[in-house]
């Protein structure tokens, strides 16, 4: 993770200002490899305005057609509308002009060590994300861009909102190639040993199994035509053709949305609200109305976002494509997954459905990233376990089955003692953890069941807490701190001695795991960690 701001280090000195008046966005417009974005970009940047204006004009026409607005040349309302229309047009013109200017100034390049983005006319910004800092590369396609077949490539580094670069817009195939190239480079940069022959790997990829010539020229990177690719043929196949692992039927998505707490709430609240309006009950509407709107919009929003959900694998990354209106695709590098969680709301239990989320360093799963940590919005048990086995290849699946469904004492699991029932009358029997060679498995939840996997080497720190009540009952909580995200592995209400033992032993286990990872990175076989899917 980067403690530096992505700007400011590294290659800044090597950049140079391109002369103005260069054309063509396809070819590098100077020797340094700076490239422009698609010429339609300014229109799309102003796209929201355009749609707004179109809607406005249309609504005027409606008024005309249905005669609600009295016509006539000297009608004061009409002249006001004309002024409004003129102002709108002017605003749009200025916006598009501004967008055009900023498009002219914006350039990006794929340099040997970093992807660079320069923007701004007056306030110039040079964003610079080194390959070894890249956490993920996503393709985002807002609705309007989609109509024109354009995409945005979003490069995310660890370290918050400041550490991302939006390369917008590029045409679809180019965006995909750029994404693949950046992912490859990020991977190569993170496997220092593979660097020697990494050049061969890179050219191999950018020429691609699809036979598409590299659109972004590998500036500075030696082309090394004869270099033998390092990976096995199986991996190469997995690289060339993204292998679709799971496709979630929209019917199941809709069904899962119906069998959900939010849907239950709506089923009760909507009739109540309607009744309140019809029967004029005081005080109900102001309380329920906003809640219904909020929950409903949120629920439908996530349904729309997760429609057409598809999880595929290409080399060492999982790719997620989803969305009904905005097609989104995001990537999760398998090597960067910090923790995995399977969660089953009560109503899904009958169907055996699970929601699967991951913590990935640099993706926070909130705000703009919402849902980017989602591997499965609603997967069947077997699907979820298959994905789990892919993310953490060393997972013990028998143990996993016990973790997701088990209760009470089970082989391998250390549970909460009986005294925990005072704090936790129902779920204490589910609470517990198991330790495997590679990960800590955390089990919990009574109505909504959860199971979490945190590899030993990924634990940021361990925290043991004990409040006064727990002290009386001889209990303590252990938090295995992961990077920020949806998965928060807490093992609550362990026997105090058990909790101390876990934290103490985890010191050694985590250290050993970190050393193993270090040895693998610096040493022998970088790909052993992620064998091709079986």
């Amino acid at each position: 993770m980067s403690e530096h701001h992505p700007d400011g280090d590294g290659l800044r000195a090597a950049t140079h200002t391109p002369a103005p008046g260069e054309t063509s966005d396809r070819t590098p417009d100077d020797g340094a490899g700076w490239q422009r974005f698609h010429p339609l970009t300014p229109l799309l940047r102003g796209g929201v305005m355009l749609v707004g204006a179109a809607g406005y004009v249309l609504s005027q026409q409606f008024d005309r057609i249905f005669g609600t607005a009295p016509g006539g040349e000297d009608d004061p309302i009409m002249s006001h509308l004309r002024i409004a229309a003129a102002i709108t047009a002017a605003v749009i013109a200025v916006t598009v002009l501004g967008a055009w200017l900023s498009w002219r100034a914006a350039r990006f390049r794929v340099s040997p060590h970093a992807v660079e983005l320069r923007t701004g006319i007056l306030f110039r910004q040079h964003r610079h994300i080194r390959y070894d800092r890249i956490q993920s590369v996503d393709i985002v396609r807002p609705l309007i861009a989609r109509l024109f077949g354009l995409s945005e490539v979003r490069v995310v580094a660890a370290g918050g909102a400041d550490s991302r670069a939006a390369l917008a817009y590029l045409d679809g195939t180019r965006a995909h190639d750029l994404r693949d190239e950046l992912m490859d480079r990020a991977e190569a940069a993170n496997a220092p040993v593979a660097r020697a022959d990494g050049a061969g790997e890179l050219t191999d990829t950018s020429v691609g199994a699809q036979g598409v010539p590299p659109l972004a020229p590998a500036d500075g990177t030696p082309a090394a035509p004869g270099a033998a690719p390092t990976s096995t043929s199986a991996a190469a196949a997995a690289r060339g053709i993204p292998l679709v692992l799971v496709r979630i039927p929209n019917a199941r998505l809709v069904q899962s949305a119906l069998f959900h707490g939010a849907a239950v709430f709506l089923a009760i609240a909507i009739p109540l609200t309607v009744a309140a309006v019809l029967l004029d009950w005081p005080g109900v509407l102001p309380v329920l109305g906003p809640a219904v709107l909020g929950v409903g919009a949120n629920h439908i929003g996530s349904l729309v976002k997760n429609a057409n959900f598809e999880l595929s694998q290409a080399r060492d990354t999982l790719k997620v494509r989803r969305g009904l209106t905005d097609l989104r695709s995001s990537t999760v590098p398998l090597g960067r997954v910090q923790a995995v969680q399977m969660r089953q709301p009560l109503l899904w239990r009958a169907f055996g459905w699970w929601r699967m989320q991951v913590n990935v360093a640099g993706v926070h799963g909130a705000g703009d990233d919402e849902g980017e940590d989602l591997l499965l919005p609603v997967g069947e048990t077997e699907e979820a376990l298959a994905v789990l086995a892919l993310v953490f290849p060393d997972t013990d699946l028998d143990l996993a089955r016990r973790a997701i469904a088990g209760e009470g004492p089970q082989p391998g699991f250390v549970g909460a003692p009986r005294s925990a029932r005072w704090l936790d009358p129902r779920s204490w029997q589910r609470r517990g953890y198991a330790v495997t060679d590679h990960a800590v498995v955390v089990r919990g939840g009574w109505l909504a069941r959860t199971a979490q996997w945190v590899p030993h080497g990924r634990i940021q720190s361990a925290r043991l807490t004990q409040g006064p009540l727990e002290r009386r009952l001889g209990l303590a909580d252990v938090t295995l701190v992961s990077t920020p995200g949806s998965v928060v592995p807490v093992i609550a209400h362990l026997a105090a001695g058990e909790a101390e033992r876990l934290v103490s032993e985890q010191i050694g286990r985590s250290a050993a795991a970190r050393r193993r990872t270090g040895a693998r990175r610096a040493g022998t076989a970088p790909d052993l960690a992620h064998p091709p899917i079986s």
Binding site: R463, P468, T483, E500, S504, A511, R514
Partner: protein
């Protein structure tokens, strides 16, 4: 592939088995680890901060009692009690704030009523800060803040004498560098 907690894995290079038992952290006692207490001056500094916060309220309440409403003395008394309780609490908190530098990690313990024990591996540290506010500076104290890739790791050690804090920061930075692990 994976054995469970009780069963030591024979072939895998499990850390705890070969390396003796490894450090045993515990909430009570020192269990043979080099726990270091923070400076007791931290209690003084925090007490002063507490009194400075409460003083304006006590004065205001006292003024009301003298000029307007006699029952406001109750407020003054309550504030005095609060101050006493705060002082007692601060002394306890500071007395129970300890840290230990272990071979692979730093462990920090705090609290008596609500106890916390944090262990942060050196290899997981992203950077280490040293901070010192105006009041702490007067007492020659500084705090060392340990940052990992997660903001909730909570590894800060307040109330170290400046020289000690500086030395600790240097040691931590050096160990972090030599044991650094990728994310």
């Amino acid at each position: 592939m994976s054995e469970t907690a009780g069963v030591p894995a024979a072939p895998a290079p499990q850390a705890p088995a070969p390396q003796a038992p490894g450090p045993q952290v515990a909430m009570d006692g020192d269990s043979g680890l080099p726990w270091v207490h923070v400076s007791p001056r931290l209690a003084t500094a925090r007490t002063i901060a507490l009194l400075l916060t409460l003083l304006p309220f006590a004065l205001a309440s006292g003024a009301v009692a003298v000029f307007l409403w006699r029952w406001a003395w109750v407020g003054v008394a309550a504030l005095a009690l609060l101050a006493l309780w705060g002082i007692w609490l601060i002394r306890r908190q500071v007395a129970f704030l300890t840290y230990a530098e272990l071979p692979e990690e730093i462990a920090i313990r705090r609290g008596r009523m609500f106890r916390t024990l944090v262990t942060v591996p050196y290899g997981r540290m992203q950077y280490v800060d040293m901070q010192s506010g105006p009041l702490a500076r007067r007492f020659g104290l500084a705090s060392v803040e340990i940052h990992t890739a997660s903001p909730s790791s909570g590894g800060d050690i307040p109330g170290l004498p400046v020289a000690e804090a500086e030395a600790l920061r240097e040691r931590l930075a050096a160990r972090g560098e030599s044991q650094r692990a990728g994310l």
